[in-house]
Amino acid sequence: MPQEFKRQYKEILEQYTQRQTELNLYEGQNFSRQLIQKNISPEEVISIHKASLEELMPDLPNDVWHSFDLLIEVMIRYGLALKEHQTLIKKQENFRMEMELASNVQQTLLKTKIPVMNDLDIGMISVPAKEMNGDYTHFLNDDTTIGIAVADVIGKGIPAALCMSMIKYGMDSLNGAETEPIVVLDVINRIVEKSVSDSMFISMFYGTYDTSNSKFTYASAGHEPPLFYSAKSNEFSELQAKGLLLGVIPNVKYEQHIISLDKDDFIVMMTDGVTECRSKAGFIDQNTVMDIIESVRDQSAQDMVEFVFHKLEELQEFEQRDDFTLVIFKKK
């Protein structure tokens, strides 16, 4: 039994038995904090109490001393539970550190470089709601063509992160940026369908932009339709393309469409973190999002995506519920 604790406890007990003041009780509370810090178990505390009492009131009847022995036995389980609790706290801390590490690895692994093209101004922002990002953006490019994938993995955390690595390796196995969008989606669907669990799936939009003719070819696997802004007509339209989510069934027919971009036209690709924004008053509807984008249409693509993010963050009162990704392709 730690002698120092016994000495302190005896002092507090002696004072309290003489004068039952609040201050003495308070000292007792502080003392218990020290005991917990030093991992003193409940049964040890009772032993300290018993030993102190033996010195302070040696004449107590034998029955009282025996009763303490029983109490000590009873408290042993509590001591064990406390030890288990401390082990769990330590384990949890280890998990947290591993998660952090995994999240760093994910970020390094999935890093994509925004290509610099003569004809096209590209802006991108992706902000996770939790540690691990369930949104995934990947660029492929050669001299004239740029491929863009925007995906949202449903199901969060580590399984989602592993799923994203599948998309990445699926895309790396392709024949570069010129691969047709429907082929890209078909390849990835086959990979994902074989490997994911039942309630996990991916929505993905894939498009390629050819700088030689300013044409954007796209297909979608159940993804939020991008917005197309025409500078000439000053209007937004949705780039709809039918196609089922990745990972639900093996053989899916995807639609593929082509649009031409003129100077200052732009395409806004996003995940449902953008369209499912909610404020206190209700959903932030698509028109609001369009208005926000239009208000900054003269700025660079990167400034645009950042502005939209901050504006929506503000409208949601800084409570981000879902991962948020926004990519803008703007023809120079």
């Binding site: 969060k156 039942d198 309630s199 993804h223 089922l244 209700g282 519920r321």
Partner: protein
């Protein structure tokens, strides 16, 4: 953040579920567990009414995809009814409307939604 799930057995092979509230990352596990209580058999018909669902995100969608996959594997049928136009849009965009049996609500869009 609330969800309510009631399951009614209407016949040996017929279950009707009434779901209400919000289906998001916090409540989706509750719904998933509840749907697991249904014993899937050959020719089973499960109708899930979503008329009182005020919000659903992609995690919620995941629960229905998961249930659709297991009931289809067991030769059963899942029917979703009472979808508001906002909910219907989710199933449209994701292409799920092409493979699932989905009935839109015939009621007016509820007042707490902005569409």
């Amino acid at each position: 953040m609330n969800i309510s799930v009631e399951l009614h057995t209407l016949g040996e092979l017929h279950v009707k579920g009434i779901i209400g509230g919000e289906i998001d990352a916090f409540t989706a596990p509750i719904l998933r567990e509840k749907l697991k209580e249904i014993t899937l058999q050959d020719n089973m018909h499960v109708e899930l009414n979503l008329m009182d669902v005020s919000y659903m995100d992609s995690t919620g969608l995941g629960v229905f995809v998961g249930f659709y996959k297991s009931i289809s594997a067991a030769n059963g049928h899942m029917e979703l009814t009472g979808l508001s136009s906002r909910l219907k849009r989710l199933f449209d965009i994701t292409g799920l409307v092409e493979i699932m049996d989905i009935q839109e609500t015939d009621k007016e869009v509820k007042k707490d939604e902005t569409v």
